[in-house]
């Protein structure tokens, strides 16, 4: 059976992390996606607002996250992936902010990842295609950023994972960085050859893929072994809702409008044996707080179902 994970956001409390990790374990999870991005919110960054969390030294950050590390260990939860704060570049923001993100937040995130013993860190590529004029030029900026943290990744045995993202045009969500699987595969191979280590991999986000109509099976199959981590969540194909899989239908037949069969077939095609990790933190605020344990249990059950289906489809 595959490991099953979920975001720590809305579950783990900094005052008593072990309690949240225990909750995850009781729900049926074996892994966690540590929401480091929760300490420097994207909504703040887009307003060019920084907080002082990453002003801490690496030693101070390690002290801060020691209870989290111990709490996860005590609960038997493996921190499989963490999410670096994003964006790491804010178009139009002061140079000071972007320098801080690159020179403080990014390397310290790598250090926290290493401290937590986590093998994967998910980053967001730069969203600059509309400014720069092409996806290739946009990638060059992201690649330069990856180059800045890849040596840290190699040293710590961490794989940086790029994620398929969306962009917004008049409120219509369209493909953003890393939505071409074949290009992503070539770029990942280039980095890994360059560093002689698996410093770069991919995080497939089902919700983002669904919004921009990607063919799940084709995309995952094209990525192959480069696919390291998942962000599993569902939406209506219109907005990035981060909801529980199978909850959206568009026709009177009431069948899921997200291609979960294609998702499993894709994972099966590549023999995916890594963690089935859910990115469904908003579900936990949508349901009454008193139902949190039940909701987490239900998400874990879906993970177990996917795991079983994957077992049958794995090639």
């Amino acid at each position: 059976m595959s490991g099953i994970g979920v975001q720590t956001k809305n579950v783990i409390n900094d005052n008593c992390p072990e309690e949240g990790f225990t909750m995850l374990r009781l729900a049926g999870f074996s892994c966690a996606d540590f929401s480091l991005n929760g300490y420097l919110l994207n909504s703040s960054l887009y307003r060019s607002e920084l907080n002082d969390f990453f002003d801490r030294s690496v030693q101070e950050l390690e002290r801060f996250f020691t209870p989290h590390k111990r709490g996860a260990e005590a609960a038997g939860i493996t921190i499989n992936q963490i999410h670096m704060p994003y964006p790491v570049y804010v178009p139009g923001a002061d140079k000071e902010i972007n320098d801080y993100l690159r020179n403080q937040v990014a390397p310290k995130s790598m250090a926290v990842c290493a401290f937590l013993g986590c093998p994967h860190i998910v980053i967001h590529g730069f969203k600059l295609a509309r400014f720069l004029g092409s996806e290739e030029l946009e990638w060059q900026e992201t690649a330069e950023f990856i180059d800045s943290i890849a040596p840290l990744a190699k040293e710590a045995g961490i794989t940086i994972c790029i994620e398929n993202l969306y962009d917004s045009i008049g409120g219509h969500l369209v493909e953003g960085p890393c939505c071409n699987a074949r290009k992503a595969a070539e770029r990942i191979d280039y980095f890994n050859d360059k560093y002689g280590a698996e410093v770069l991999g991919f995080c497939f986000d089902t919700g983002h893929a669904n919004i921009v109509g990607l063919d799940f099976e084709d995309f995952i199959t094209a990525l192959g072994r480069r696919l390291k981590v998942l962000h599993i969540h569902d939406n209506d194909g219109i907005s990035d809702l981060h909801q529980i899989p199978f909850t959206f239908a568009r026709t009177r037949e009431n069948r899921s409008s997200t291609d979960w069969d294609g998702f499993i077939r894709g994972l099966g095609n590549i023999g995916f044996d890594k963690v089935l990790s859910f990115e469904t933190a908003p579900v936990l605020t949508a349901f009454p707080k008193a139902m949190k344990q039940d909701v987490l249990g239900f998400i874990a059950d879906i993970g177990a179902f996917f795991s079983g289906e994957l077992q049958k489809n794995r090639k």
Binding site: N42, S43, Y46, P91, G92, H124, K127, A129, R130, F131, L132, G133, E135, L137, L165, Y166, D167, S168, I169, G170, H172, L173, V174, E175, G176, C179, N180, R182, K183, A185, E186, D189, H208, N210, I211, V212, G213, L214, D215, E217, D218, A222, L223, G224, R225, G237, D240, A249, R250, T251, R255, S256, S257, T258, D259, D261, G262, R265, N269, I270
Partner: protein
């Protein structure tokens, strides 16, 4: 670049006089010969269509277009509904497309858009018999699990299913989709090649959506590299350029695609573009720029212009506003069509901006503001102006973006073939001023609304959040 109008929503095929007349009166040079007018996709499955009746049913439309002097440079072959569950339509479609080719020959159409077989069904798991149902294990369109054939750079050799992983041996990365949808369509399209060549018609493939329980997703040829590979492989097999591509902006938008990248990947294969707007979620053909949200268009028109300009597109622009037209009173169609034609002309102007720059060996600018700045950022190296000029005498003699700002009077000293590019939105007024000054040089309107790249301060309101 020629502009044609799609007749859907505008022309009654049985009484085409008024609609065709409105299209001609609005200024369109041509109209698309859309067989769907005479055999709508809904009726296609229910009643079937007799190929021999196709020409007769289209004759009133053809005759009327002839009377109005409208060209018919492109046609669209009949097609079933996107979500058809019928897998037995191949033979009927084949005969209809062959008849469509004959109609094209009679009408002087150089291009015929032919949807791939089972265009909307996608590749698997639809639950329909014989078509891509992987779970049932049956053979059919798009059954990738069968481990059968893909196309490797135009070849049709057998490649293992595992080779779909990019970079693996036996498949050219990014260019193939191994599955029966290619095999079946390869045979289908190639069976049309001879008739198309004899009739001097080029078959155009078009990007498709597929429907997954009501959600429109990327279908056949929605991947630009795949589409390019299909066109190349078909042409290679045919031994000549019988096949090209038509990009439907509506499908690109429904699939949330980066249209600039899509167009760039298709390159010279692109012979026609359908311009239509939609909200990105539901299938509509609205007049471009009318599907808006908080003042912004839901379709990536910047990407459309960037992509087409980059590939130096010089094909057909098909204005498809069927849904918008149906919503309007027919009495307002003349005014609506005039606007549609204006929009199409706008696209033509924007797309050909760089081509117009290339026309002249030397050039100067008029205007020393942001538009001049953007010109210099994007085109200054490739098309350096001699200088710029401005009506503000206080700026004469200054340098701006590396250019000397001169008085308009200095334009009188230009060699006659040096073009003046107005970089100011008061185009007509400035042109009038220059003509009144006696300047006879070519005058062109430059515009920076859709540039290949922007300064970061240009789109500062843009804040993407994920």
């Amino acid at each position: 670049m020629n502009i044609v109008c799609a007749p859907q929503g505008l022309v009654d095929p049985e009484r085409p006089g008024r609609g065709v007349g409105d299209i001609a009166a609005a200024g369109f040079e041509g109209v698309m010969l859309d067989a769907s007018m005479c055999c709508p996709p809904d009726e296609f499955e229910l009643r079937g269509v007799h190929p021999e009746s196709l020409y007769e049913s289209m004759k009133p439309f053809l005759d009327r277009c002839g009377q109005e002097g409208l060209l018919m440079p492109i046609a669209r072959a009949p097609h079933p509904k996107r979500n058809t569950k019928r897998s037995d339509l191949k033979e009927m479609l084949l005969q209809l497309v062959k008849e469509s080719i004959r109609v094209c020959e009679k009408a002087g159409c150089g291009y015929l858009i032919v949807d791939p077989l089972f265009a909307g069904i996608g590749n698997r798991g639809t639950g329909c018999e014989g078509i891509g149902n992987r779970k049932s294990g049956c053979e059919g369109i798009g059954n990738r699990r069968t481990g059968c054939e893909g196309i490797g750079s135009g070849e049709t050799r057998c490649e293992g299913i595992g080779s779909r992983e990019a970079g693996c041996a036996g498949i050219e990365s990014g260019k193939t989709r191994s599955g029966m949808e290619w095999e079946v369509n390869r045979e289908y399209y190639l069976s049309l090649a001879k008739a198309a060549e004899e009739s001097r018609v080029m078959i155009l493939l078009q990007n498709q959506c597929r429907e997954h329980n009501g959600h429109l997703m990327r279908g056949i040829c929605a991947d630009a590299e795949e589409a390019a590979a299909w066109v190349d492989a078909l042409n290679e097999a045919a031994g000549r350029e019988c096949f090209g591509f038509c990009m439907d902006t509506g499908v690109c938008s429904l699939c949330g695609q980066n249209i600039r990248e899509y167009a760039a990947a298709l390159g010279a294969r692109m012979k026609a573009v359908v311009l239509r707007d939609c909200d990105g979620h539901y299938e509509t053909s609205m007049l471009p720029f009318t599907c808006t949200n908080c003042g912004s268009s839901a379709t990536d028109w910047l990407g459309v212009v960037r992509g087409l300009r980059e590939i130096d597109f010089d094909g057909l622009l098909i204005m498809d506003l069927g849904t918008t037209a149906e919503a309007f009173s027919r009495l307002l169609h003349p005014q609506l069509l005039q606007l549609a034609y204006g929009v199409a002309e706008f696209f033509k102007w924007q797309v050909s901006m760089k081509r117009v720059l290339k026309k002249y060996d030397t050039r100067v600018l008029f205007g020393a503001g942001n538009m001049c700045r953007n010109f210099m950022k994007c085109y200054g190296d490739e098309f350096p102006p001699l200088f710029t000029c401005d009506n503000n005498r206080e700026r004469w003699g200054e340098r701006f973006e590396g250019l000397e700002i001169k008085a308009p009077e200095s334009l009188k000293e230009l060699s006659p073939d040096c073009a003046i590019f107005i970089c100011n939105i008061y185009y007509r007024e400035i042109e009038e001023q220059l003509r009144e000054m006696g300047i006879r040089n070519p005058i062109e309107y430059f515009n920076d609304e859709y540039m290949p790249s922007y300064y970061f301060d240009r789109l500062e309101e843009w804040k993407g959040e994920v």
